[in-house]
Subunit: 235 residues, 2 copies
DNA sequence: TGTACATCAGTGAACGCGCGTTCACTGATGTAC
DNA sequence: TGTACATCAGTGAACGCGCGTTCACTGATGTAC
């Protein structure tokens, strides 16, 4: 709030308007689904539709802003959840906190989740600056693995060795998010990451309907299972 | 072809028209994305848009038909891949065949895949008769696990026990697709199923862009990893 | 085998709607002197 | 502190488009006698 008091009043009002437009857009996504309509947003804000163009040059630009926001919100949820665990040596606890944090954000904002992890919007190409925010959750996972590895407590018993073809790229990813860790461990991390979002997508997209009722308990089971798979321990 | 020669010529022509409309619709999904337009389909078929209504009562009905087709095509791909393995005791081989078959179908028909495993279409509620075709792949997986279990070759070392809350529903699912198997094994199967489709969604929705190039090799790695997780062996 | 009637596929016009985007404009707010 | 000009937010009309669906119709194909 107070931290951007500098700048003219006009600039502040403008920033607030941008937020309001995005809020209206998010509300609309929640109701009508993925068909974002500038006219509907303007209607909700008691504005004329062309007024939106003072704030966003096109529908695509607004969509990009929403996608960026979603990535950052999810990234922040993951980071804060990970940071909330006091005992940094409790790698299992950190992983579980992150897993829960990601699910909590996704279930609270299912349509924003669908925006970034659902089927790609037709005709829309994500610009380059979504890449960095989009990997924030996997960076958090990388840090946990790195710490567990440094502490000499990362189990690698029975780990699958990737075929040589895959090693260079795995090493490259590892260098970025968990430099101390082997290619095989990095592969495991990517798989766990895939599984985590697979689980959330299945839940949010209704794939467990008529199958499992207590989705929170099921997710918890899966998160613990993944922790065992990743070789993470509590202490 | 020849198996439905009975019935009037009119009925046969009608069936062919329905197929042509669905083909045009699929082609359109592939190009324009998820926004199915009856008028565009009619245009492609050199018909007037209202003519489509002789074959489908509404846009939703056509969409439902496409979804049903997609589920059945995927189910068939999974079943045929599973059946193609001669040695029925090679449970690992059967699993890998199914995993590859599912991916092969999905990469060949990415938009039909997105239709059934992407974000739900806004305002569209899947009717009840999609349920049965939608679980065909998991039924195939169930049969492999059941056979492995009956042969006494399903490893359960280190398996995670689900919390009591989840047991009844897991038992119910097991009763349906792999009656001999414990709740914990069933949980493992569901997790593997989730992971498999998580992997395919990640690949098709572009989540591995700038990360992994040889997606087939990566998927193969992941499929083998899952087989080890599931406790399946070659012999 | 031929005729009379019913069924069906496809036409073309229309209804009523929503959309993104452009443009010239008015009036208020900010900035420079 | 006051004035002159520039910047900006929001208006309202319009362009050109596409959409799903309905309806009365024409003409061809099938069915019953």
């Amino acid at each position: 709030m107070a931290e951007r008091t500098r700048g003219s009043i006009r600039a502040r009002v403008r920033a607030e308007m941008i937020d309001e437009i995005k809020d209206a857009a998010r509300r609309q996504l929640a109701e009508g689904g993925a068909n974002l309509s500038l006219r509907a947003i303007a209607r909700e804000m008691n504005m004329v539709s062309s007024a939106i163009y003072r704030y966003f040059a096109s529908r695509d630009e607004l969509l990009t802003a929403l996608i960026l926001d979603a990535y950052n919100a999810l990234g922040e949820a993951a980071e804060q959840a990970g940071a909330s665990v006091r005992d940094r040596d409790d790698h299992l606890g950190r992983w579980l906190a992150v897993a829960r944090g990601v699910r909590a954000w996704a279930t609270a904002s299912p349509h924003e989740y669908a925006l970034i992890y659902g089927s790609p919007v037709p005709g829309y190409e994500a610009p380059q600056d979504t890449v960095e925010p989009s990997i924030r959750p996997v960076v958090v996972l990388g840090a946990i693995l790195e710490d567990a590895h440094d502490a000499g407590r990362l189990t690698t018993k029975g780990i699958q060795r990737p075929v040589p073809d895959l090693l260079p790229e795995l090493a490259q990813i590892a260098a970025y998010i968990a430099p101390g860790v082997s290619e095989a461990v990095m592969a495991r991390a990517l798989i766990a990451w895939t599984e985590l979002f697979g689980a959330i997508s299945f839940e949010l997209f209704g794939r467990f309907k008529n199958t499992i009722t207590d989705l929170a308990a099921w997710y918890e089971h899966q998160a613990r299972d993944m922790a065992a798979y990743l070789g993470l321990t509590a202490r």
